[in-house]
């Protein structure tokens, strides 16, 4: 029996994956129009290279890199650029985006040249050209991760297949349906950074994916598949490395500081497609789920597809007062409307009943937040320091180490918005420092 790895802290959550775990990924046709926000990657948003009224072809570059940490955007449908303007986005206030009206007649698609045996440099430049960013949510451009800073050596590349957020089944379905692509992506990552070891780490609630991938890698000497205990946030980069290798990423540091590189399942598959098939990143798989949805599922859609289109595909909006979440229930963002588009980091759309509970009652000092914190912080204390605007102490008590996983607020009997307060504190600290 394989060993189940885990980390310190965290919480056990109801999983709710059964509604979509058995649903095959369904390809949806392009919508009437797509809205492609420019800021879909960590770092600087790419600069648009198209104009209003211009005809674009599927896979054509519409925005190109604007700095060292940036990415490329492609038209996800063929059609006409109808607007370059601010649009509602799922991750914050309205932001600049390219709107394209789909031409239903066109079926052409631009691809890059497939590479059968790319060099590390070719892998990195392909990742940039194809606009591959981390698909887990943060959207970190992967060519940057694939070029570790001078002097650091990466010995272990990890595919994060924990998928520890409840409801989401994107990575699980990808492993079952596109296992070889995931493994090829891992090999490309290992080659790009010169890592001698590759690990695919799966939470133990996805045993069939574990067996599937293990059957695919059993001949590979330097790749292994490991099982993790089902505990949130097992998919947190730092928690994952600690669980698998017993290495602690230093406070404020990157995984490369301990010789690791972590990518999620969908990102590895996207890298494989970009290299082997020359496919730019213009679509992704999204889990659409929630207790009241008629036909929840896993759908492959074009980047820029409005949420409304996906909700309709999942059986339409149910009655009652609802909450729409982009992402998972622990770290996802509640949406004010369904007109926002799917971006590269959209792993799920959840339609759940609205819950009214008392929030921000006085702290009872019970300590449940710090027992749940995977970073060893005292979230209740940090939140109080934010309320009192004591920034120096906030920093000294590790406010910047918070990974915003939400375990503290999940556990809080007083219903305090602990993560929200700590996020505010981190923002304020940036302003105070500058």
């Amino acid at each position: 029996m394989p060993k189940f790895w885990t980390f310190k802290g965290g919480v056990r959550l109801p999983e709710h994956k059964e509604r979509t775990a058995g649903k095959k990924i369904r390809d949806l046709p392009p919508p009437d129009r797509v809205i492609i926000p420019l800021a879909q990657n960590a770092g600087s948003p790419p600069r648009p290279v198209v104009e209003k009224g211009q005809a674009v072809e599927e896979g054509e570059v519409i925005a190109s890199p604007s700095g060292p940490v940036s990415s490329t955007l492609h038209a996800s449908v063929s059609g006409k650029v109808t607007a370059l303007d601010d649009f509602p986005v799922p991750y914050g206030p309205p932001a600049p985006a390219v709107e394209i009206e789909t031409d239903p007649e066109s079926s052409s698609r631009r691809r890059l040249a497939p590479l059968s045996d790319p060099s590390p440099e070719e892998i990195r430049s392909r990742a940039l050209e194809a606009g591959v960013v981390g698909l887990g949510g943060a959207g970190f451009p992967i060519q940057v991760k694939l070029a570790p800073p001078e002097g650091t050596e990466i010995d272990c590349a990890i595919i994060n297949a924990a998928e520890c957020e409840p409801f989401l089944t994107v990575d699980y379905r990808m492993m079952l349906e596109s296992g070889p692509k995931v493994i090829d992506g891992l090999k490309l990552i290992m080659k790009a950074v010169g890592a001698g070891e590759g690990i695919i780490a799966i939470e133990a609630n996805k045993m069939d994916a574990f067996y599937k991938l293990q059957s695919l890698v059993h001949r590979e000497k330097n790749i292994r598949v490991e099982l993790l205990q089902v505990k949130y946030p097992q998919g947190g980069e730092k928690q994952l490395i600690a669980a698998l290798l017993g290495r602690e990423v230093p406070s404020g540091g990157l995984p490369s500081a301990v010789g690791c590189l972590v990518q999620n399942v969908a990102t590895a598959a996207a890298l494989s497609e970009a290299v082997r098939e020359g496919e730019p990143l213009i679509e992704r798989v999204v889990t659409v789920s929630g207790p009241a949805l008629k036909s929840p599922g896993n759908f492959r859609v074009r980047i820029g597809t409005p949420f409304s289109y996906l909700v309709e595909a999942a059986g339409g909006l149910p009655e009652g007062e609802l909450k729409i979440i982009s992402g998972g229930p622990m770290m996802g963002v509640a949406q004010a409307g369904l007109e926002v588009p799917v971006v590269k980091g959209t792993s799920g759309i959840l339609v759940v009943p609205a819950v009214h509970r008392e929030r921000n009652l006085p702290c009872l000092h019970c300590g449940d937040c710090l027992r749940g914190c995977p970073m060893g912080l005292n979230p209740g204390d940090l939140a109080t320091l934010v309320e009192k605007e004591r920034w120096a102490e906030f920093e000294e008590h590790g406010g910047r180490d918070c990974i915003e996983c939400g375990c503290c607020a999940y556990s809080c009997s007083s219903g305090r918005d602990l993560v929200q307060l700590i996020k505010l504190g981190k923002e304020a600290l940036k302003k105070v420092k500058s």
Binding site: K8, L13, P14, P29, P31, D32, K238, A242, P250, S251, S308, V311, E312, G316, L317, L322, K323, I324, I325, P329, M330, M331, V333, A334, Q335, A336, G337, L338, E339, L350, V352, A354, V355, R357, L361, P362, C363, L364, H365, C366, G367, D368, L370, M375, G376, L377, N378, G380, G398, D401, E404, G406, A409, Y410, C412, S413, S414, G415, V419, Q420
Partner: protein, 330 residues
């Protein structure tokens, strides 16, 4: 496919996380009330319905005072969260059965007003409010607070109520009068079931242990404080020499004969006024055990649980500061 008309629909927007464990303040507080029920039943069994009257008066007074003060402060009235009821019940548990009924009423009103609301209400008080109330009534009406009535079973045997004593009191009395108290009055079995003199909620070890089992099972208290507290008293009363002339009590009599279990389980584990980390709780419990033992063995009072907890409450912020967890990656 046409876009869905979503103009009319409004959606709830709140910050992440969108899941919650379902634990709430009322859930915690009412669970504590449930855990106190065995001790409440034991108090009625051993001390009669007068015990229930005291408990009802203390709780009603606590709830009414809290509501009145919250109204005066212009704050939402939150008595339904159960926190006033919990501390009212705990204060009643700390009284002897012979007190007049106005005493629990005054005691409850005092601790709510001074012990809790004066500090800003729930979550803001530094000292355990029920114990603040106890100290107040103790020092205001010392005679009434130290007149012990025998438990019901002893009463039938014709024991004089005025001369009855608690096991710890008897030991202390022996120091003063240099007359050894009657041997064998307090058997271990009597102390375990609660058939001894004392405050109405503290005598029955079995009832208190049922309560702690429930709280541990539900995860509302942790083992560190009670274990450290009780272990420290057990070891210190065994190791340290008794005061000259004192009736030698065994460590077991120290554990069962006074307010130690009630204090260690329900007072020293109060979330608001005690440390948050496991190490902090251990230190807190050990400190309580040390102070309790010193007062009991060498102090002027027979009982030291109440003061030990209040003194350690004052150290809670300091303990929290020195037992901070190691931040990941540092």
């Amino acid at each position: 496919m046409t876009a869905v008309n979503t103009k009319k629909r409004l959606f709830q927007v709140t910050p992440a996380p969108h899941f919650h464990s379902g634990e709430t303040i009322p859930r915690v507080m009412w669970a504590v009330v449930i855990s106190l029920l065995p001790a409440l039943l034991a108090s009625i069994y051993f001390f009669g319905y007068r015990a229930l009257q005291i408990e009802v008066v203390a709780v009603v007074s606590a709830v009414l005072t809290e509501a009145a003060i919250q109204k005066l402060r212009g704050r939402p009235v939150t008595v339904s969260d159960g926190s006033a009821a919990v501390a009212g019940l705990l204060l009643a548990f700390n009284l002897p059965v012979g007190v007049p009924l106005w005493l629990p009423a005054v005691g409850s009103a005092f601790w709510i007003a001074i012990g809790k609301q004066a500090f800003g209400g729930l979550g803001h008080n530094i000292f355990n409010p029920a114990l603040v109330g106890r100290v107040f009534v103790m020092h205001s009406w010392l005679g009434r607070m130290t007149t012990w009535s025998p438990p019901r079973t002893a009463l039938y045997e014709g024991v004089d109520a005025l001369t009855y004593a608690t096991p710890l009191g008897a030991a202390k009395e022996a120091v003063v009068s240099l007359v050894p108290a009657a041997e064998g009055v307090f058997s271990t079995a009597d102390m375990f079931w609660g058939n001894i003199g004392g405050c109405i909620g503290e005598t029955s070890a079995i009832a208190l242990l049922l309560g702690v089992a429930f709280l541990l099972y539900r995860g509302y208290i942790r083992w560190q404080t009670p274990v450290a507290f009780i272990a420290a008293v057990g070891v210190l009363t065994w190791l340290l020499p008794e005061q000259d002339g004192a009736l030698a009590l065994t460590p077991l009599q120290h554990l069962l004969g006074g307010g130690l279990l009630l204090g260690a389980i329900f007072m020293a584990t109060d979330m608001v006024t005690t440390p948050v980390t496991g190490w902090g709780m251990l230190i807190f419990g050990l400190g309580c055990g040390l102070i309790t033992s010193l007062i009991r063995l060498y102090g002027g009072f027979p009982e030291g649980v109440c003061y030990s907890i209040l003194i350690m409450n004052a150290f809670t912020p300091l303990i929290d500061r020195f037992t901070r967890l190691r931040i990941f990656g540092t």
